[in-house]
């Protein structure tokens, strides 16, 4: 029989996440001047907050090991990766190839994130979005981006 180490998944993993973020912050804060309570340096407040966060994270982490709690809801990496990648594509292409290409690329990638998508429909919708965005954002609201490469 497998011994279950983590009893409360939600507590354990959120604790770990908080400890990790606080740890990263502390690593950065190490180079800052801390000062004293009455003469604070730039690092004082961040240090205080990062320590509190690390402490709270640690409490959750330990709780997850000791107390039985709800497990983490199942995750599906596919949707997350594709949606985030679609934003990345937009950001990478916008300055280089203009708004229209960026929108088409984003809708193309994002459409694979939904099981219900029909590729040609998504592409037609993407083209319509590109046209509408050009009129609304660039022509009417004057956002400074190139429309075409």
């Amino acid at each position: 029989m497998r011994i279950k180490l983590v009893r409360g998944g939600v507590d354990f993993w959120s604790g770990l996440l908080l400890v990790a973020i606080a740890g990263a912050a502390l690593w950065y804060i190490a180079s800052l001047d801390i000062g004293t309570a009455l003469d604070m340096g730039p690092g004082y407040f961040p240090l205080l907050i990062a320590l509190i966060l690390a402490g709270m994270g640690a409490v959750l982490l330990v709780r997850g090991l000791v107390v039985v709690g709800p497990p983490v809801a199942p995750m599906n990496a596919r949707a997350a990766i594709l949606i985030l990648a679609s934003f990345l594509a937009f950001a990478l292409l916008l300055d280089r190839l203009g708004l229209v290409v960026a929108i088409l690329a984003q809708t193309l990638i994002a459409s694979f994130a939904s099981r219900e998508s029909v590729l040609w429909q998504s592409l037609v919708f993407g083209a319509a979005l590109a046209a509408a965005s050009t009129v609304l954002f660039v022509w009417l609201l004057g956002i400074p981006v190139d429309v075409l490469p």
């Binding site: 973020i21 966060l53 983490v72 939904s114 219900e116 956002i143």
Partner: protein, 501 residues
């Protein structure tokens, strides 16, 4: 009083010309539009339209630009309610219950109450400028750094109140938000902090990037994950317009939200945000059934929407009576006024009565126009939800990308949004609420700034916080609120313990 009424009449005389009515309408329409589009805020839009007002009369120009500002407050709730994307810090709390209502098929009701609440708040807020402007400005003037610090402490306690789940985890989320708020240049020394060598981060993380990431992007991913995304908007859409019963239920929240918003709007910095958050907390506290909050309570939409609209109007008070801008938008108004040869200062009311009273009169008319524009639009918005999700989510991702780009005309903010989207998704899987975190993020920098400034001006004496009456009052309020939140938990624990025995 009588004199003010006469002057107000004079103001209406100025607005009720074809040109000025037209400018008011253009402003209101523009404002609604950009309010609906996430990321596009009044600051960006007003600055884009500023050059176009060069040729206008100063009064007409200011009427139009103001219309954009308070119009955006009407539109801002729309995306928060429909797709869980709060475009501005003031609509973060609206998303909590508003989006729940939309999922239950009550989007129309939520939107209508938001519009009606905004209208009532807008009118009362405008009346406040007209009749209580100068005294309220003096109140705002008497706020110094220690008072702001205590006010921010109070705000953080309110953030605890709006959490639905575990108290401990809510506090952890606030602390996480505080930490993200620390990113950027330290005001006191000019040192970059936690910026990881990204010069773009020296002004801190953009609010739009963090809000769109935590709410919008995470929501889209979670929806797509489910086996059938139809479940999201398959809920039958009930009434478009709220029933009398709902209106009656919301009326108290609207009035309380308006009162809080009118008062807090006068304060610089996070006035409007604080008003929205604290009004939500207040409703949850006075409600006989606080458990409904977070599950689609109409008061949770009515109160913050009324509060932020009232605050949007009364934030003009320091500008018009003292010449002191209290927010980025108001600073832009200073720019607009100076461009037109009017130096906003303590003498504006006496030297530019046409401008002052004309603007106030235009706010009444603008609010009236906005409710006339917005109520019929609700049908349109609700129909948007009937769009199959496989199209709706494409619309959301594209508009979010452009919106977040437009904030600083930089793709860096899109990368930030991706990062916060991932974080938001993980937090959601871990049952953590993003709203308290955003509150920590917004209030954290102001909390630190005012704390450190208090210590400088108070020569390192911590007792300034209890010596100043305003500060002391907020601290006492915070403690009282904290106790009232914590008590039920403690009592419950006790009961559990007793049951065990």
């Amino acid at each position: 009083m009588i004199e003010s009424l006469q002057l107000l009449g004079h103001g209406f005389g100025i607005v009720l010309t074809f040109d000025n009515l037209l400018f008011c309408l253009i402003g209101a329409l523009c404002g609604t539009l950009i309010g609906v589009l996430p990321g596009l805020g009044p600051v960006a839009t007003i600055s884009l339209l500023l050059p176009a007002t060069f040729a206008l009369e100063p009064v007409g120009a200011i009427i139009m630009l103001s219309g954009i500002y308070y119009g955006a407050q009407y539109g801002g709730s729309t995306t928060a309610i429909l797709v869980n994307i709060p475009g501005e810090s003031t609509s973060v709390v609206t998303a909590i219950d508003g989006y729940r209502m939309a999922q239950q098929g009550r989007a129309g009701e939520a939107l209508a109450i938001a519009a009606i609440g905004s209208f009532i708040a807008g009118c009362i807020g405008t009346l406040t400028i007209a009749f209580a402007g100068p005294p309220l400005a003096r109140v705002a003037q008497s706020f110094t750094s220690p008072d702001y610090f205590s006010l921010m402490v109070f705000g953080l306690v309110c953030a605890v109140v709006l959490a639905n789940g575990s108290l401990f985890r809510a506090v952890a989320m606030i602390v996480l938000g505080l930490l993200f708020g620390m990113i950027g240049m330290d005001v006191n020394t000019g040192m970059p902090r936690l910026t990881g060598d990204f010069i773009e981060l020296s002004d801190g993380v953009s609010f739009v990037a963090i809000a769109l990431g935590l709410f919008g992007v995470a929501e889209v991913i979670c929806n797509l994950e489910q086996d059938t995304t139809r479940a999201i908007n398959s809920a039958k859409i009930t009434n478009l317009m709220p029933s009398w019963a709902i209106l009656r239920q919301a009326s108290g929240a609207i009035l309380r939200g308006t009162a809080l918003g009118s008062l807090m709007g006068v304060l610089p910095g996070g006035g409007a945000t604080m008003a929205a958050f604290s009004s939500y907390a207040l409703e949850k506290k006075v409600s006989r059934t606080p458990s409904r909050f977070g599950r689609g309570a109409i008061e949770g939409v009515a109160a913050p929407e009324s509060a932020n609209n009232a605050a949007a109007q009364t934030s003009y008070i320091p500008l018009l009576t003292m010449g002191l801008p209290t927010s980025a938008t108001m600073a832009l108004m200073v720019g607009a006024l100076t461009l037109h040869g009017i130096a906003p200062g303590p003498n504006v009311i006496t030297r530019q009565p046409d401008l002052f009273w004309g603007l106030i009169a235009s706010m009444f008319i603008g609010n009236l126009m906005l409710i006339i524009i917005n109520l019929p639009m609700i049908g349109l918005w609700v129909r948007l939800l009937r769009l199959p999700y496989r199209f709706l989510f494409l619309l959301i991702v594209v508009v979010s990308s452009i919106g977040v780009y437009s904030v600083g005309n930089s793709v860096f903010d899109i990368y930030l949004m991706i990062g916060f989207g991932l974080l938001g998704y993980l937090l959601r899987k871990l049952d953590a609420e993003p709203a308290p975190m955003l509150m920590g993020f917004v209030l954290g920098p102001m909390l630190e700034e005012n704390f450190r400034r208090s210590l400088i001006t108070g020569r390192g004496d911590l007792s300034v916080f209890i010596q100043k009456p305003i500060s002391l009052a907020f601290l006492i309020l915070s403690v009282a609120l904290l106790i009232s939140v914590a008590l039920p938990f403690i009592r419950k624990r006790r009961e559990e313990v007793f049951q065990d025995e």
